[in-house]
């Protein structure tokens, strides 16, 4: 095995082992992700009297089930780890190793995926089986696009976590900004409301922003709501945002590290 693969495998092994140690905490986090269920109840009630812009009760059920799945696949929590390690000075130890710290954070975050999937896949799968109505897409092209879109969604999440986490190099208030970001993200990503139910002007604006690519895009691909000929432009826009935010995150990180004075280390 070549070195980068060996390092990735070692990081993931450690991430999985840590996730298993923190299994109770992760399961509680997962159970606490109830917002899609609340929105599911809300929207199905509203749609009980008739479909809302093409969304029936059943469509909402499928939409929010897929949302739960994608949310757990693309979830990231690096901002808290980064913030804490910069403020406490323990980032020092990561900087001493010949490995970019962002790889280590990525490994830690992705290490909990097997545990999350082991819990969420059967639950969501069962719900889809029991649910009578629009289902996951059967189109192979969409199934090919789905993992790509999920990977892109995760990368975008990670880049934003690094961008906001790295602000801790300059300010003690970076987590406050995280709350502002989360509010915007929840509204525009499709987490609270499907993106095509937003007001028309906001839809036009949102089409060029990164939020939809961070959740709504993979959800809509899983449900086959995006026509096959539109897949490529959507994925291309997602890739462009990955490049842009990824480059910004890297640039901010390296400026921050230069400034890092390792207080308390």
């Amino acid at each position: 095995m070549r070195h980068p693969l060996r390092i990735a495998a070692a990081l993931l092994r450690v991430g999985v082992a840590e996730a298993l140690v923190y299994r109770a905490q992760i399961i509680i986090w997962m159970l606490a992700t109830t917002l899609p269920l609340v929105m599911l109840a809300l929207w199905t009630t509203l749609a009980a009297e008739g479909p809302l812009q093409g969304y029936s009760e059943d469509t909402f059920i499928a939409y929010f089930l897929a949302t739960i799945l994608v949310r757990h696949l693309s979830e990231c929590w690096a901002v808290w780890a980064i913030n804490e390690e910069i403020r406490a000075g323990s980032l020092t130890l990561r900087l001493l190793r010949p490995l970019h710290p962002l790889w280590a954070y990525a490994g830690q975050v992705l290490g909990d995926r097997p545990l999350r999937l082991a819990i969420i896949l059967p639950l969501v799968g069962l719900a889809f089986l029991l649910h009578d109505g629009p289902d996951l897409t059967a189109d192979p092209l969409h199934w090919l696009a789905f993992p790509v879109a999920v990977a892109g969604a995760w990368l975008l999440q990670f880049a934003v976590h690094v961008l906001i986490g790295a602000l801790a190099f300059w300010t003690e208030q970076s987590l406050a900004l995280w709350s502002v970001w989360f509010g915007l993200w929840a509204l525009l990503s499709g987490y609270l409301v499907p993106a095509d139910l937003l007001p028309r002007w906001l839809q036009h604006l949102n089409a060029w922003l990164p939020f939809h690519a961070m959740l709504g895009l993979p959800v809509e691909i899983a449900l086959g709501r995006i026509p096959a000929h539109d897949l490529l432009p959507h994925l291309a826009l997602q890739a462009a945002w990955c490049l842009l935010l990824g480059a910004a995150a890297l640039a901010l990180w390296s400026r921050g590290v230069r400034r890092f004075e390792a207080y308390g280390a």
Binding site: R6, E18, G89, T92, L93, L96, P98, L99, A265
Partner: protein, 329 residues
């Protein structure tokens, strides 16, 4: 070779006034203080040397070590470690050094040390056969066998420190920075680590720079010391010479067959202590031999030993001498 030239680091520390008023004032006008933590420090360390880097708290030791290990960018001056510039933090440099801090750990807290070791094997690209050999050596030297598979959080401080050293040495660094590695450890564990560091230095020829507040560490490990205070180098040279120059007297401890009157001892040197039949005299080094000869002939000596004054006294004297005199109020 480690070459440090005019190394300087200035911190800009925000000054916060206490209380609500201070907090509100800080919102509009932030006062920043300039602290010169390290000021034009220069020295050279030959390959294979073990050098003590000593000074009181806040003297600039850790800041210097951080610049030497690439964690801090110098404000000015230069550092070269075996041809590498530390703050560029290139792979070649990071695989050349290791920094072990007594108060910080790289071991993954909730996993056994073996997991951290395995991770380091991948990160440092250590050949599997070399890794096994080095790990076996370190496990034997540090007596880690039973600790490898216990979660780090369940290890005692001393056990953790031994595993920290092991994690730091797996890639066989040529330069080892040790920042208070024995802090908080009991006397037996301090001695174990000291012995290990000395053997490691002899066997591998690694260059070691050690900061510590324990003078036993210094005596056992560092023929050469660099003293730093208020960010500047106050002494750089042999430990023996520092002791001889700072406290020119030797300490002669006598046990006599009967308790002597103090005036009987006065002609031989400065009487530091007299308890029953045991007396401690401070005798100038130049007159040590004839004084001992006279002591043995003139007094009923049952036992006699000669040593240097404790290193703690030497350090206290050096740093007191360097403190500016108090304002005569």
């Amino acid at each position: 070779m480690i070459h440090v030239q005019d190394l300087t680091r200035v911190y800009h520390v925000p000054h916060k006034e206490p209380g609500l008023r201070g907090a509100l004032r800080g919102l509009f006008k932030r006062r920043v203080e300039e602290v010169r933590a390290v000021d034009r420090v220069s020295f050279t360390v030959e390959p294979g040397a073990c050098v003590g880097f000593l000074g009181p708290n806040g003297a600039g030791k850790t800041t210097t070590l951080k610049m030497l290990s690439g964690l801090l960018h110098p404000t000015s001056g230069s550092v070269s470690i075996f041809g590498h510039t530390p703050h560029a933090r290139k792979r070649g440099f990071l695989t050349t050094i290791a920094l072990v801090m007594g108060q910080k750990q790289q071991l993954i807290w909730d996993l056994p040390p073996r997991d951290t070791f395995d991770l380091n094997r991948a990160i440092y690209h250590i050949d599997p056969a070399d890794y096994r050999r080095t790990l076996d050596d370190l496990v034997a030297l540090l007596d880690l066998g039973a600790l490898l598979d216990r979660p780090t959080r369940n290890l005692s401080l001393g056990e953790r420190m031994k595993c920290e050293l092991c994690a730091a040495l797996l890639h066989r660094p040529r330069v080892l920075f040790l920042d208070e590695p024995t802090i908080g450890l009991d006397v037996a564990m301090q001695a174990t680590l000291r012995e290990f560091i000395r053997d490691y230095n002899r066997q591998t020829g690694a260059t070691i720079l050690l900061t510590t507040h324990y003078m036993n560490d210094v005596e056992a490990l560092c023929p050469r010391v660099i003293l730093i205070d208020q960010g500047t180098v106050r002494y750089d040279g042999a430990l023996d010479r520092l002791v001889a120059d700072t406290l020119p007297d030797k300490r002669v401890t006598l046990r006599l067959t009967a308790p002597p009157p103090p005036e009987a001892l006065a002609p031989f040197g400065h009487l530091q202590r007299l308890e029953g039949d045991v007396a401690v005299l401070l005798v100038p080094r130049q007159t040590l031999q004839p004084t001992i000869a006279r002591l043995l002939t003139d007094l009923p000596v049952a036992d006699l030993s000669v040593d240097d004054p404790p290193l703690e006294d030497v350090m206290r004297r050096v740093f007191l001498r360097n403190t500016p005199p108090a304002d005569p109020a």
